[in-house]
């Protein structure tokens, strides 16, 4: 069976999250570069996953998917998009068998033959009964993903579920663990594995008489909750970086209208895709906290290139390169990135800006924010009313929005050209509101 790709689902969910409610089915499908039929099929599939994970009330079953995953600050403590990572298809018989095996090993350590007996006596009769080989290969898989453990001792080996994490901790310690996992998954990257763990622990606590109210004490403000969609590609890329391997993918620049093209296996029906086939050596991944977006920095025939991870589809590993050469490219990149506010590798310039303190007895939130978000920039001088911030950055494009976000509390001093740009922008913005 061909490797299952989730490109369509990822692009689909991203568009749903970002444009919540803006498009009709037809428009939505057009923008994804798929047919309305495929669009409906994808929605059905995702709805199926969502509804099997959340016991939905009958009146909610008909709710649109876009409604189900609509972000609502006080009601949403579970990561809305996590269900994407639950979408891998598994045959009905296999999902029954695996969950039954785990249930059996939950109570005691068992041998493969004993597990076979359990399956034969309890699997529903309309499903084909497994043989010993199947059970052994299930056990091998479960051991590989670290869910079960072989007990020490002579043959035949006994297996048990690996749940020390909850078994060896007191209830109080479990609450502390749950909190830690919740806080770290929400404030650090990567977070998908943390969210999966949080989900498991939450269910475990709820089974053990802890109220729902007790497992949802935290809220996270101004959170880019869609960032986990791109983590889907993260580990493939990390693997390639670790092993100095090139990757191939079809790239859709986020500026193009379409963001996905169906991959037809029959070349006769292949249509023109608007994406561009890329082959490149991945060097670093960048997460941008300003927008909650991910980038891939790579080395290809045109030198260093940057890709938005959201535009990457049909990714596959390719041949490996010489390690020393790869390291050299990495250090070249590191040198170029030294002064990148985000990912700009252009010529470094020194930016000087005067920030004005808020008047009166108010706490100096301007200075607080500059110190919190100003990255490696320095406050070089200061008087009663203002202070001067100086930073060397690659180009002024990426730092500009941040400086502009301070409004009239920030005045660009240098470079002069940059100062002029800001004056022109404020004039335009003022014109937008002239009639207010």
């Amino acid at each position: 069976m061909a490797k299952e790709s989730f490109d369509k689902e990822i692009q689909f969910l991203r568009m749903l999250v970002l444009t919540s409610g803006a498009f009709s089915r037809q428009q939505f499908a057009e923008r994804l570069g798929i047919s309305v039929h495929t669009f409906d099929k994808t929605i059905r599939r995702l709805k199926e996953v969502v509804s099997s994970l959340h016991q939905v009330l009958p009146q909610e079953q008909s709710k649109e998917l876009s409604e189900t995953i609509r972000y609502s600050y006080y009601d949403t403590t579970d990561p809305l998009l996590l269900f994407l990572f639950r979408a891998k298809s598994v045959k009905e018989s296999e999902s029954q068998r695996i969950s039954m095996l785990l249930g059996a090993m939950n109570e005691q350590a068992l041998t493969a033959m004993e597990l076979l007996d359990v399956c034969c006596s309890s699997l529903s009769s309309d499903l084909p009964l497994p043989d010993e080989k199947t059970i052994r290969s299930d056990l091998k898989y479960l051991e590989e993903v670290g869910v079960v453990k072989k007990e020490p001792g002579p043959r035949p080996f006994r297996y048990r579920i690996q749940d020390d994490l909850v078994r060896n901790l007191s209830n109080d310690e479990l609450i502390d663990l749950y909190d830690f996992v919740d806080v770290m998954a929400n404030t650090q990257v990567p977070s998908v594995q943390g969210y999966l763990l949080r989900d498991g622990l939450k269910k475990h606590l709820l089974r053990n008489q802890v109220e729902l109210h007790a497992v949802e004490p935290f809220l996270y403000k101004y959170h880019y909750y869609s960032r986990i969609l791109d983590e889907a590609h993260l580990f493939t890329l990390l693997h390639a970086i670790r092993h100095q391997r090139k990757v191939r993918f079809l790239y859709f620049s986020p500026k193009s209208e379409k963001s996905y093209a169906s991959k037809n296996t029959n070349p006769l029906f292949e249509r023109d895709t608007e994406g561009k086939a890329e082959k490149t050596l991945p060097l670093k991944i960048v997460y941008d906290h300003q927008y909650g977006r991910w980038y891939l920095l790579a080395y290809g025939s045109e030198g260093i290139r940057k890709y938005r991870i959201e535009g990457i589809t049909q990714i596959e590993e390719d041949d490996s390169v010489d390690e020393a050469w790869c390291e050299e490219k990495k250090s070249e990149l590191a040198a170029k990135m030294r002064y990148s506010w985000l990912i700009d590798t252009g010529r470094p310039v020194t930016v000087r800006a005067r920030f004005y303190n808020p008047g009166g007895s108010e706490p100096n939130f301007v200075k607080e924010r500059v110190m919190l978000q100003g990255q490696w920039g320095q406050i070089v001088s200061e008087d009663e009313h203002s202070f001067i911030y100086e930073i060397t950055v690659n180009g002024t494009t990426e730092i500009k929005p941040w400086l502009r976000s301070f409004g009239s509390s920030c005045e660009i001093l240098e470079p002069l050209q940059f100062r002029r740009e800001l004056i022109a922008e404020w004039k335009e913005i003022q014109a937008y509101y002239a009639s207010v």
């Binding site: 444009t19 969950s99 020390d164 993260l234 985000l342």
Partner: protein, 276 residues
């Protein structure tokens, strides 16, 4: 490591839930082991628990993500955990009342006020924890930085009162929300994705006007969030324009006018306003 493992399949997960089985993979344990290296771990657990966790995870791998990942434009991580977190989360869990001594703006201290804790809120922008709580005597919803709390102890409260306050929190917060409408200036439709990303941390709906090829974002928010939204709008500059929302419009006019004054530019509109 692959995130789309069949073990994470939704049917398997819901069957395990039915049978009451706790399942954890080495992916999740590796992540946890990596996070335990963060300084926050020492504040989150007692030394004993931390030792216990480390020994449970002894045979798991630490993730090497940080070697290949650069985080940019991140706020300085002043605080991930706060010493009061564990106490307060238990008061919340037990639906207990509290007696709280805290500092307000200007440094004045309020001593021994009765209240009911609702939620703990972390601001990803300020990198700080806040307690959302109900002030019993003033019948007010409060938000206090944990660093401004001097002391807090549990205080008994009638269960029915606790339930009533919880109910009220939900209703009141929703009713206090207001809506603003922001339009993406059509010339910048090419940057749609970036602009929508900037608004993705708000509750919002997007409307698309096919005839004019124009997008409008309807943001739904509480009054005290306006300032943050304002900084986002200034962040995006001339790409967006506030269509509905008088406060934001006024503040944008004020920002641009004052900014131009800083640069020594006085425009026609402003001087007319002054002479009138």
């Amino acid at each position: 490591m692959h995130l789309f493992e069949k073990i994470f399949n939704h049917q398997i997960i819901s069957r395990l839930e039915d049978s009451g089985t706790f399942m954890v993979t080495s992916h999740e344990r590796s992540w946890l082991k990596t996070m335990l290296e963060h300084p926050a771990a020492a504040e989150a657990f007692t030394a004993d628990t931390l030792d216990k966790l480390r020994s449970i995870l002894a045979s798991d791998q630490v993730m090497d993500t940080s070697l290949h990942l650069i985080e940019k434009a991140r706020s300085l991580e002043k605080q991930v955990y706060h010493p009061l977190l564990s106490t307060l989360r238990r008061h919340i869990m037990n639906k207990s009342g509290m007696r709280i001594t805290y500092e307000i703006k200007g440094g004045r201290v309020k001593t021994d006020h009765s209240g009911f804790p609702y939620k703990l809120e972390y601001s990803m922008v300020k990198r700080e924890w806040y307690l959302l709580w109900y002030h019993t005597r003033h019948h007010a919803f409060m938000s206090t930085r944990l660093k401004n709390i001097h002391a807090v102890t549990a205080e008994s409260i009638k269960q029915s009162t606790a339930e009533r306050i919880l109910q009220e929190f939900g209703n009141t917060l929703d009713s206090r929300k207001s809506e603003v409408v922001i339009e993406i200036i059509r010339t910048y439709n090419e940057e749609l994705s970036r602009i929508l990303y900037a608004f993705s941390s708000f509750e919002k709906n997007v409307e698309y006007d096919l005839d004019n090829d124009t997008y409008r974002i309807r943001v739904c928010l509480l009054g005290d969030e306006m300032k943050y939204l304002l900084s986002k709008i200034r962040f995006l500059g001339k790409r967006v324009r506030v269509m509905e929302g008088d406060y934001l419009k006024r503040r944008m006019l004020e920002s641009s006018t004052k900014a131009l004054e800083r640069y020594g530019v006085v425009t026609a509109t402003v001087s007319e306003e002054r002479s009138s």
